[in-house]
């Protein structure tokens, strides 16, 4: 539905398993709708041109730059943001991936972190057996200015290894 005068579009977005109706300009990016219309501010904006990856979210399980996608394009897809990773009644129980980032000091200022988390979440779901070198390749998709990347790679690798160990024990 498009309003010709103001170019407003009514869209339905499935975010973290919840349906949201949003009335927004068709030029509005997915990241702006997530952050400013739905107030899911965990996803960040670092460059607005698809390089830094701070805005990475999962769209139908695949990591996507939410700054390069219009919100309208995400209709009908399942969108997941960093807010979906943690658990518990208060939503603050850290997932194994989040715990690994903390244990390895894989974040300092924390601004790029949600993007790396969603990148890793999507990648490990697809490639649970990824080697450390393959993880490094994927980590190279996003920018971090604080850590020098080593501890991000180690956190994701540590998480993957722990999941594999847990899988074998079952």
């Amino acid at each position: 539905m498009t309003d010709a005068a103001t170019d407003l579009q009514l869209m339905t977005l499935d975010v973290n398993g919840e349906e949201h109706e949003v009335l927004a300009e068709s030029r509005r990016t997915l990241v702006d709708v997530l952050r400013h219309d739905l107030r899911l501010t965990g996803t960040h904006v670092g460059c607005e041109h698809g390089i830094c990856g701070a805005c990475t979210v999962l769209v139908d399980d695949r990591p996507v730059r939410a700054c390069l996608m219009f919100a309208a394009q995400a209709e009908g897809a399942r969108i997941r943001t960093v807010e979906s990773l943690s658990d518990g009644t208060d939503g603050c129980e850290l997932s194994d991936l989040q715990q690994a980032f903390s244990a390895h000091h894989g974040l300092q200022c924390g601004f790029c972190t949600p993007g790396f988390l969603m990148l890793a979440e999507g990648f490990l779901a697809e490639r649970p057996d990824a080697s450390k070198e393959e993880i490094r390749e994927v980590v190279a998709a996003n920018l971090c200015r604080c850590t020098g990347y080593q501890t991000i790679v180690e956190a994701i690798d540590g998480c993957a290894a722990a999941r594999r160990r847990a899988g074998k024990e079952k």
């Binding site: 960040h44 390089i51 960093v82 990773l85 903390s102 300092q108 200015r145 080593q150 790679v153």
Partner: protein, 792 residues
Amino acid sequence: MTPRSTEDRLVGRSVARREDPRLLTGRGRFVDDIALPGMLHAQFVRSTVAHAEVTAVDLSAVRQVPGVVAAFTAEDLGLGDITARLDRPLTEFVPTAMPVLARDRVRYVGEPVAVVIARDAYAAEDGLEAAKVSYAPLTPVTCEDQALAEGAPRLHDDAPRNTLVDVSLFASEGIDAVFAAAPCVVHVDSRTGRQNALPLETRGTVAHWDDREEQLVLETCTQVPHQVRTVAARCLGLDERAVRVRVPDMGGGFGLKCVVGREEIAAAAAALRLRRPVKWIEDRKDALTASFLAREQHYDVRAAFDAEGRILGLDADVVCDMGAYSCYPFTAGIEPLMASAEMPGVYKVPAYRVRGRAITTNKAPTAPYRGVSRPQYVMVVERLFERAARELGLDPVEIRRRNVITDFPYTGVNGITYDPGSYREALDLCERTVREEGWYEKQAAAAAEGRHLGIGYSCFSERTGYGSTAFAQRKMEVVPGFDLSEVRMDTSGAVTVTTGTMSHGQSHETTMAQIVADELGLPLAKVKLHQGDTDRITYGWGTFASRSITVGGSAVRLAAAELGKKLRRIAAARWDVSPEETECGQGCVRRRDDPSMSLTYEQLAEIAYLKAHLLPKDIAPGLTGTAAFDVFNDGTFSNATHACVVELHEGTGQVEILRYVCVEDCGVAINPQVVEGQCRGGIAQGIAGALFEQVTYDAQGEPSATGFMDYKVPTAHEIPDVAIHHLETPCAFTETGAKGAGEGGTIGAPAAVLNAVNDALRSTGVELDHTPITPEAVHDALRRQRTLERAR
């Protein structure tokens, strides 16, 4: 007093960061996460030319754009200028008046000319496109040679030859004779590229007027909240009380956010004018072109050595391209004065002469980026040692060994007294590590195959914990240095701690809490740090110059000790003993003679607040401890040696880092994991400057890098893992024994990388002295060399 037994101490342990849970779950609150009712959005009309008279600014069409609420020029807002000053004569320092919005003149591409306020950020950008600014172009000055040329166009009327700072801090008597007689004189002419400190979060602010508090509230991502308050109050004509600066979570800063930006003041002015909240979030293009840049410097330095490789003298001429304006509060003096004061570094240099200049050009202004001149002069001095070693046939590590300071305290030719460090030990351990890992054999094997492996070192110290005394020597109009803290205990026995420092990734919520928890014998969870609020913190100088743990950490420890004293006085009065007969520990005050006699902090807090009638007359109700800390000597020096192993690919000109080793000594590490994080992150930024990042300008002053396609920020592909070894020489005069750890990585990396590259190039006869060492630079140098060889 030992509130905690050694094994229970939190200082020295890598405890989990307090910041992590909220940042990992997306519950951090950064400036762009703030939304206030009725909030409007600001964007800036920016100059499209580097140097011009502004003849007209027409915003009438802007105001017609749907969604635009208002648009203001400098004239509309009538704001004061931002002017940073040094207390030096005009022959040494010329201040620049930086208008919040340009009035009749623009001095760089990206300079803000007008502000557009709209109902959302999209409409604000629509508004920018409708702005009409007319210019009468002036000749742009885009490089050092143009700036210093006879008859060069002037950026600022008071600054002949575009020179803002020209200071000769040292000139040892007889230095010319030293050079004339020296058996070995080497020379390095080095230029470093203009960089962006590049916090992933760009700058931004949310400003609103609070009618009830009669205050302008500026929620802004800054490393220096109190300095922003001062400038905002001055520019807007408000009492400082009427400005409250609050800092949300911050996505990095690295120095770029330790100066006051004009956009935050303009947004505040608009919020006052419209009486509605105004948000400004810088986009990446503006962050790359129009915010504060850094690092572009030129060093022309000679060093004299005796036949055994002992340095006899250093003679330096430093020119720093500071761009269009001095930054507040540091001024354009920050870079040349840092280089001039500290260049002799870790070496015993008997004679020293230096001239330091800051020039102004039609480029975005600069801020003191992580390291401040030290990455550059360390690189130059380390190049000089390598070059001397080659000339004298000495091993490059051995020549350093013969020259590093080993007897402390040592007062250098620069008049600075260095406190104890491990310069020699760090160098030895670093070399041993590289040797034991077999890199010298690998280098020889590679050479046999015609491949170019190089090993490079850098050896340096970093002055941290500048107090008021040390900063006063820079003659800034405002003199940073001290820090204040208050530790307050509530009725439940939990404490809140304030600091004037401002973490933007450095984990102060964790490390400062570790210090306080140890001092009082409290669990970490009972201690909460508050920073970045000018109403809650009496005064502070923020976070820069690796000062937070040295100065701020000392202040919080002293404040906690003051609170401890009060707790003991209350307990002692209850027991009718002297406070000396009591001690704090494990959440209570105990009697020394009978540790079974104790009062918990909760019990004491109850007396102090809820049963004050039980207090003796000479003890006031309430439980706070306050303290100030300052450093009255030259500060404390962290030190490190870095080693880098590279392979240089002749075909592509690419430099691949195969190994990176860092041996560092920052005294007592409050949280070793945090220190390692600072090292690794710093090294990554140093490598970025050494190999990748540069903002260039064309002849018209148009910046080349407007996005990350043009400004190459290294990724996990390019940044290697870093092996870190710790040495610990505690500082004698900080309250924790800690020295600063924030900048060392960035300082040491360019030198280690450049030396490694030159070692790899040894067989080709090419030497490189400029950064970034891009593939093009390597390729061009090799091609020139081949042409030269063919000509012979």
